[in-house]
Assembly symmetry: C2
Homo-oligomer: 350 residues x 2
């Protein structure tokens, strides 16, 4: 199989973890007789530094011409502490999501026996945790009209959802539930927000088309508790953009390490794969970042290409490394391996 992949290293530890995924993808290509080619594109603080623009046109074009996108991380502290900055790295990612219509962010949440001691949760909470969050990614308050008064006396953000936006991701989430344990939980704040009430209405309307799926509803404040109190109750969690941002990051602590978790952002035409961790600038350039979140994102990409056997081999490599103590500093601060060593070991395993 021939596949063309756009690679966006991004900021901070982005380049180093992404390099290991490319290495693993190359090992898979060689092993299974595929051809993967790559175009490197700029985005984020990196792109601002080099071009003044967090998302140069060539990047959008490069992504549109690719079969899928592998992305590292975005963000730099120099922008975070300047609330009046006009250009910001994150604009690049938001604009890319919008341009490519990557409307569904999919984040599996599971646990690893080898990491149990790192989880903040008790063993009881970790039993049988296996759910996936479907976060709407191109609508809501992130993309609604933003205003700030010239004298900074007032600022606002608008949260808008259309029925169509809610429907398309809801169908994906219902279909995922049908392939899983047949339960879908909508997280909203329908007791207060009009947009949440629209979500609830649309999901209630669609539900009869998936009569084998049991639907329930949770207010986001309650969901923030339930994810910690009883995470095994969830199968597919569906939610809007901002709530998804918050609860999927919250859910990511369950496993014991952020460094391990992958995600996929899918649209009608293409899909982007990225680890859920951020750019973590303190660790950049030190060869200590955990590359497995990115490598498992590459595995999700292989699944997306229909290469399920190959994806399984990558996941087996990650599990093998974990089980044998081949881990980065975030997981074992004493006996640890470098980012590049983990990438090499998993490539060799493949």
């Amino acid at each position: 199989m021939n596949k063309h992949i756009a690679v966006i290293n991004g900021d901070g530890i982005g380049p180093e973890v992404t390099a290991q995924s490319v290495r693993v993808l190359n090992a898979i290509a060689e092993q299974f007789g595929h051809e993967f080619t790559y175009t490197y594109c700029l985005m984020g603080a990196d792109a601002i530094d080099k071009t003044g623009n967090p998302l140069p046109d060539e990047t959008v074009e490069g992504c549109l011409n690719a079969d899928a996108i592998l992305f590292g991380a975005i963000g730099h502290p120099k922008y975070d502490n300047d609330p009046t900055a006009k250009v910001r790295p994150e604009q690049g990612l938001l604009k890319l999501r919008k341009s490519l219509q990557l409307f569904a962010n999919i984040r599996p949440v599971s646990t690893y026996a080898a990491l149990e001691h790192l989880s903040p949760l008790k063993a009881k909470q970790l039993e049988n945790v296996d759910f996936v969050i479907y976060r709407e990614l191109t609508g809501g308050i992130y993309f609604g009209e933003k205003k700030v008064a010239e004298d900074y006396s007032e600022a606002s953000d608008l949260c808008v959802y259309t029925k169509t936006e809610i429907e398309r991701i809801s169908h994906l989430a219902f279909k995922a539930a049908q392939q899983r344990r047949k339960k879908l939980t909508l997280v909203d704040k329908a007791n207060v927000l009009e947009s949440s009430r629209l979500w609830r209405k649309v999901v209630q309307e669609i539900a009869p088309q998936y009569s084998d799926v049991v639907v329930d509803f949770l207010f986001v404040d309650n969901a923030a508790m339930q994810i910690i109190l009883n995470p095994k109750q969830f199968d597919v969690v569906l939610t809007e953009n901002m709530f998804g941002d918050i609860i999927s990051d919250e859910a990511s602590v369950i496993s014991g390490s952020l460094g391990l978790l992958p995600s996929a952002s899918v649209g009608a035409a293409t899909a982007l794969f990225e680890p859920i961790h951020g750019s973590y600038p303190q660790a950049a350039g030190k060869d200590i970042a955990n590359p497995t979140g990115s490598i498992l994102s590459a595995a999700m990409m292989l699944d997306h290409f229909g290469l399920h056997k190959e994806a399984e081999v990558v996941r087996a490599g990650v599990n093998w490394a974990l089980a044998n103590g081949f881990v980065t500093k975030d997981i074992d601060p004493v006996n640890y391996y470098f980012t590049s060593t983990i990438g090499e070991l998993i490539s060799d395993f493949v």
Copy 2:
């Protein structure tokens, strides 16, 4: 001291837990020679059933004429599952917060040795947890303009903040930090939202007036992780309405029981005290709900009246009951006491 208290029982378990607080307040009054008088007011589903209005005018008036308000809980499932309902219990609470300008919701988060086994978090996470969340309560997306298209093709909510709204709660939070461990953490999403950038700007501007307080900033998605991973890092957490709703409920799981946690909502003219738990309709009328969240809210009310010794006695009563196994079913499902028994025991302790 003479104090007049407006009591709003509200919905579900509201009446039964509030009754125990009144009992404890009466015991305090007798013991310390105060006179507390009460006016009972309607709000929520209860008020809709009786008057058609979730917040009758007499309730606002009753609250304005009182020195403080003791409130139970709000909400009923029959409204939650009808996204097109025009009247909802929660409107009552939101309107009351707005009418009385209760702009700061204050929620202490701490742990109890006797409940450690109930916490979903490991002992390591629970060490030295002692922080307080200042949630803005009368602005943001809860109160911004709401729209829904007649054909339900689109819906929106506007999140607006003015500089003045941010300033008044920020000053309270900074002052609280000065009385505590001198650290303030602003939780926002300044990398995406214009309103969050205004929060960050205003807090940065105010900070020099409180030069003994160390200020840091966390994006809300990161905060949702840090609260679980390392809660002891927090002292005073300041945030806007919706983020505060989510992270304060998340933080409430740390202690091991929601049933124990109090809150105060303060404004320029008056203050309202309520347990953080909801109306929990499944338990209503069974005399099994935990009244300590409400009783500790009453203790916060005593503090608000300047009756610190009295507040300490109430807290001592709660600690004594907990330490001696006088607990409700949520805490010990086998050897448990009734709501009313706990109220009686704590009153007797006083």
